[in-house]
Symmetry: C3
Subunit: 263 residues, 3 copies
């Protein structure tokens, strides 16, 4: 049988010992687990960042993987910790909604509240449930522990809804969801709003400023050109060829983006 | 038999090819080794950072793992390279003391000086013993090489002692040991100094400035509140809810912290 | 049989979901693949950085590993994607030359243009061939797919030539190739130009400024001393003991370096 995969997604950074402690805890429980870092650079306690990251990465994984997510501003408070089966992917995660954009519209995830301390590290600290509860539970799951024994099914949980664009007759009003490592501005407007099969043309604005050129890919325009294109998430993306659109425009998550369709 | 784990802890960063070179060296000797990054973001040549990191992460690992540590300001000088068995964990590490806080008080580690060039990469450079000596030795150990053949037992080595707090009648005087990724100030004062079972109350100061609130966890107070709590290392920690105590207070490793107990 | 290794080298950073998406894609095709991060901190679209990194890390790996490299300023344009067998190492990589310094002088690599969409993710985006083409091809190779079926042999490709030093009667004129995490300046001048067996002595200059001391290793001189030594790539390196030569001298990749030999 294949050794099980456990992925790790946190906002812990790398200079602190927290990720390493979780890896040790997992391997002490299941030395056959194969650990995969997804990221430890979620912006501190930034649930929208976590939500966007998970939505754009977890769907590519095989169903067998267990995804351990520790972005947890509510650690130690009354917020629950969850086992989630979206139907396609399994996560252990605080109940803060960062996983909910992963669930396809209409699908009904199975969610359990972690309630069985026998699967936890003891004593449980007030400030590091990633190490003391989530990591040992992920390790137990990877050894074949049935989700049923981890805690009761719950039918309510925190939802985090990534902002959706507004479509009007001839415009789309959306916003920047994420700024990537290159300074590309990834918006929530579907790429098809701009790149159209019909004869109409589209204009793109960011923060009221026109984006002069539509492109198919980054390297199509001369260096320094501000371009709009369809990014790898199939949404409108604003980029600067060999540069940073975020820096050029002073834009970030939440900056308004607009598409105007002209006849 | 389980494929062996080798963990890597360095101050090499990720943009430089040094970590990758070590991974290649290990896998060329033992392709079954399972490599785990602990961190490559120890502050350059900062042995206290390395010591704190190891102390707060290595104890969680199963005993089988081999821990390769390369924070090595003395590379190429007469400082020795060591194989260490703390009784609970095995490391290969320069003789600079960063591993010594791992050893429980009173325990007697087994320490050997690496002295057998047949286990090393040849030629050995003067500037990268991580690649040329420590990585191949870790790989040899992971293949079952007995520590006895690596070099002679030594009974002296560099000690690094993390600063201890001073306890007086009604005060504890300590300091910040580590600033984590969130800007939390982790001190060397035991959490039990502040959070007490008796009727007495405690006040906390950092750098002479009072910390207005004691909390059980970060999210208990409103955003921006400076709080004192027991951190995951079971010591006094100063934090700002959804913020950075290090930034708010201009504090760092070495900043004085004090607890005053009142009747 | 040993589970196959796939290494990942990108300029994607860690806060973005791109690396995680590629890991998912690979494991969905070959769950037995063992993934190894080499770096995701190549400077954005910096092919010289990528070339230097690969040249100083890939040679240490066993031949079985498959090296996935995604530094790809030309993504979506007409640039080809390649399977490369240098004779010693196998890579999947955009045709931008970053791999060519790996090939020993005189050796003739086998190079194929990836041309068989049946091995790709569908639909193929215009902006993320790492996820849609290179990762699935690496996964297919790791499952034993023969390179022959991936696409035709090509006999031309982009060459990237790292700058070479000029040797005159009594001088070497070179430059800084790479600034490492410690701020060490790694030049392209062979270490043997400075550290000589004969009676002649050498002087080192960086950007016209003399380097006062030759050393065998970093820790040989007092803290803060500017030293020249032979680095782990066997070239002349300029360092500051317990400091950063890049910061002290304001130097970076491309800064001139010179060795003057005196009788």
């Amino acid at each position: 049988m294949l050794d099980p995969h456990i992925t790790l997604t946190t906002d812990f950074g790398e200079e602190s010992p927290y990720v390493a402690a979780m890896k040790g805890v997992i391997l002490a429980i299941n030395p056959t687990a194969r650990l995969l870092d997804l990221t430890h650079q979620i912006a501190p306690q930034n649930l929208r960042h976590a939500a966007y990251f998970l939505k754009e990465s977890i769907p590519y994984f095989p169903a067998e993987a267990i995804h351990l997510v520790v972005v947890d501003p509510g650690v130690g408070t009354e917020r629950a910790l969850l086992y989630v089966d979206t139907g396609e992917h399994r996560l252990v995660v605080p109940d803060n909604g960062c996983w909910t954009p992963l669930v396809p519209p209409g699908a009904r995830p199975q969610v359990r509240r972690l309630a069985e301390p026998r699967f936890w590290r003891q004593p449980v600290s007030s400030t590091f449930h990633g190490r003391d509860i989530l990591a040992p539970v992920a390790a137990a799951l990877s050894r074949g522990t049935a989700p049923e024994v981890l805690g009761p099914v719950v039918d309510d949980w925190v939802r985090l809804i990534l902002p959706a664009p507004h479509q009007n007759a001839d415009t789309w009003d959306g916003e920047v969801l994420f700024v990537d490592h290159f300074g590309n501005l990834i918006t929530n407007i579907p790429g098809s709003a701009v790149f159209r099969d019909d004869a109409r043309t589209a204009e793109v604005e960011v923060d009221g400023r026109p984006v002069p050129r539509l492109a198919r890919t980054y390297g199509e325009a001369p260096a320094g050109t501000l371009v709009a294109l369809v990014g790898s998430a199939e949404t409108l993306e604003i980029a600067v060829t060999q540069g940073s659109a975020a820096r050029m425009l002073g834009a970030g998550a939440g900056t308004p983006a607009r598409v105007i369709v002209r006849n």
